[in-house]
Structure formats: structure tokens, C-alpha cells
Amino acid sequence: MAVETRRDGSGYLHRPQPSGLAEVVDLILDKGLVIDAYIRVSLVGIEVLTIDARIVIASVDTYLRFAEAVNRLDLAAQGKDLTDVVSDTQEGGTKRKVSGAIEGVKEKLPGGGDREEEREKETARA
């Protein structure tokens, strides 16, 4: 059984436990074998899955966000020690990085059984 390991020397390779629900919930709901006509479980509760749609890159809002982000960059800080950058990144963690990037574009999963590969599910709050 693979468990969470974090190897020294490469703090970037992050391995959550494979059975962690958040890591596999979209696989369980979107992938896997199906026998047609036999999906009889009441998928009540699916709607509480929060899913996050991708921001369309070619939009004025996105451009303005990027413009603001590059304007905010403190280039003087560019010379900061690499280890600072490393620890910043690690402390940031997946959740913050991801939620920062998808900025609240959230929608409800519209009922069970449908498949929209485009969407990005983040958490199950069932």
C-alpha cells in the first residue's frame, strides 16, 4: 500500500494517500465501468460536490487579472534566496494554489450520471 511519502531533496513531489477521497472522487464519479440501464443508486448528494469550471483564458477579465498580477510583482525581490521561494511554495499547498487559480468560478454538479470532462472538481463536501 502506497502511503504519503515526501522525499528529501525534492520537496516538490507530493504524494497523498491514494485512498484519500478528495484525490479520487472525480475518478469514481466519471471513470470506471458502467453497465447501461443499471445505474439505480439514487445519486442524491452529488449536488453538494463543488466543482470548479476552468476559466477561459481568452477573456478580458482574465487578462486584467494577469495584468494586475504582473504589476504586483516586486521585481526587486527576484533576487531572493531560492530556499525562500521553495518554502513559500510548499507552505502554499495544493488548496491555496488551486483555489487561487480558479477564483470562485464554481457551479453545482447538475445531477448524477452526466459527464463533463471539462470541469474541475475540487472537493466533496457531502
Binding site: L21, D36, L43, L64, F66, A67, R119, E120
Partner: protein, 266 residues
């Protein structure tokens, strides 16, 4: 309390009620799974065999089965436990057959296909890899590499409010374009490193901005070490620019994305 068995004649004290299917395995290999099944109290997981294929099932509890955390987790854990003991075809969450007769009939109809797929996934696991950008680091790269971006950045920083609106839109567009090009080349490099070690790859096309790659790899168990080493390479390659996350080994969810035909008359 729990009587997992591969003998259909003694498959436990169930009525001929609905059976929730976790997955399929070869009858010669399938064993009962101690992990708790769906429902509250949790149903035990049993093995129902027909011909050379078995189904891992549990009784559907009375009342609606909810796709809540507990049940999703049970589905995932049962399959993970099974996968660690024998090759398994994972079902998507939520597949129920009305009773054991229908289950046997499904195994009868689809047994050959299921057996063929079981041979394909035997000795293989799904590894799911996600590579995230550190957005600030990437923006710094773009400002440093792209003179037009650097110039517009200087120009718009000193222009407050609406006055610089169109310049800011243009700046953002240039940044988005540059980021798109970076993603393309980074994605190609990552997949180029990992793909040769996998039997199959399922790459997710539409991704959040911060994600460079999200892909599932079907990897032979014997090559898992090589794959891990390649992941370490990718990870080092992204030092200071992003992070690599790997989940697995998992049951091959992404590689059994198949709909079996409905029963006749259904």
C-alpha cells in the same frame, strides 16, 4: 457477521435484493474484502461468481443510497483493497443491479469482454499525475523573457485607474499568450518523459490555469520504480516553477471507461 465467499450457493444471507457492484475480478483470483461496504451500518462485501468472472458486491441498504462522503469513500476503499490483492475492473460509483439473477445474467452476457479487460489491466496500476505552476514564478519568467510585457508593465504601473485600461488588457493578453506557450512546451516535456514508461495515457485536456498537466498513466507494476524515478526528474525540473503531485498506485479507473450494453428488454 461478514461472510464473503466465492461460492454463489452460500453467498450469504441475502434476499434477492439489489446488489451494489464495486468491480469485477477473475473468479480464480477474487477474494472477499474485509473493508466495509456502503451504507450505515456498513454492508459487508461479498463475491458472486458466474463462469470465470466474479463481481464484488454488497447488499443495497434499504432506502436511497446517497452519493455522500461515506459511500464514496466506501466504494474507493473496497476497490483499493481489492486492487492490492488481485486485478480488478473498478466500476463507476453508483451501479446497482436489481438482484443476483440480473447480476449473473450480466456476467453471462459480458463475461468474455470482462475477462479480456481483466487480462489487459492485470499487473498494471493507474498513476495520476498533476503538475501545478507556481503562478508568481511563471509570471516572473514571462516579465524577464518578454520585452513587450516588461515595457507594458512599466507603462501601466504608472497609469492609474481607467486611463490605462486598454494597455492593461493588452498586457494581460500578452501574458496569457506567453503562459499558453509555456504550458504547451512544459506539457510536451513532461509527457515526453513519462509516456514511454506507461502502457497507456489518459490526458485531461481542459484544465485550470495553474495546472500544466493532469494525466493518468497505466503503468506495469514492474515499471513503477522507473516511473517514480521519472517523476522525481520532472519534479526537479520544476523546482522553483511549480509542483508535481502523484496519486497512486490506484485501480485502473481511467482505463476501463467502458459502458457494457444493457440487458435485453431493459
Amino acid at each position: 457477521m461478514r461472510q464473503p465467499t466465492s461460492d454463489p450457493a452460500t453467498a450469504g444471507p441475502r434476499e434477492n435484493g439489489g446488489q451494489y457492484i464495486y468491480g469485477f475480478a477473475r473468479a480464480a483470483e477474487a477474494r472477499g474484502i474485509a473493508e466495509a461496504g456502503l451504507g450505515d451500518p456498513a454492508a459487508s462485501v461479498a463475491v458472486i461468481s458466474h463462469g470465470r468472472v466474479s463481481a464484488l458486491v454488497s447488499d443495497v441498504p434499504p432506502g436511497p443510497v446517497r452519493a455522500d462522503r461515506r459511500n464514496l469513500d466506501a466504494h474507493s476503499r473496497v476497490l483499493q483493497a481489492a486492487f492490492e490483492q488481485f486485478p480488478v475492473l473498478p466500476m463507476r460509483f453508483g451501479v446497482v443491479v436489481p438482484g443476483e439473477d440480473e447480476l449473473r445474467s450480466a456476467l453471462e452476457r459480458n463475461g468474455d469482454e470482462l475477462e479480456r479487460m481483466l487480462v489487459e489491466v492485470a499487473g498494471r496500476a493507474e498513476l495520476r499525475v498533476t503538475v501545478y505552476y507556481d503562478e508568481e514564478a511563471i509570471l516572473r519568467e514571462i516579465v524577464a523573457e518578454d520585452q513587450a510585457v516588461a515595457r507594458l508593465r512599466e507603462a501601466t504601473r504608472s497609469v492609474p485607474g481607467d486611463a490605462g485600461y486598454f494597455q492593461r488588457v493588452r498586457l494581460g493578453e500578452l501574458v496569457a499568450d506567453a503562459m499558453g506557450r509555456k504550458r504547451q512546451s512544459d506539457e510536451a516535456r513532461i509527457l515526453g518523459r513519462l509516456r514511454p514508461l506507461a502502457e497507456a495515457v489518459e490526458s485531461q485536456g481542459e484544465l485550470p490555469e495553474a495546472v500544466v498537466v493532469r494525466a493518468s498513466f497505466l503503468v506495469e507494476t514492474a515499471k513503477l520504480g522507473d516511473f517514480e524515478a521519472a517523476l522525481e526528474d520532472v519534479s526537479r525540473d520544476f523546482e522553483g516553477r511549480g509542483r508535481v503531485k502523484s496519486v497512486g498506485p490506484l485501480p485502473p479507473y481511467s482505463f476501463v471507461d467502458v459502458r457494457l450494453p444493457p440487458p435485453e428488454g431493459a
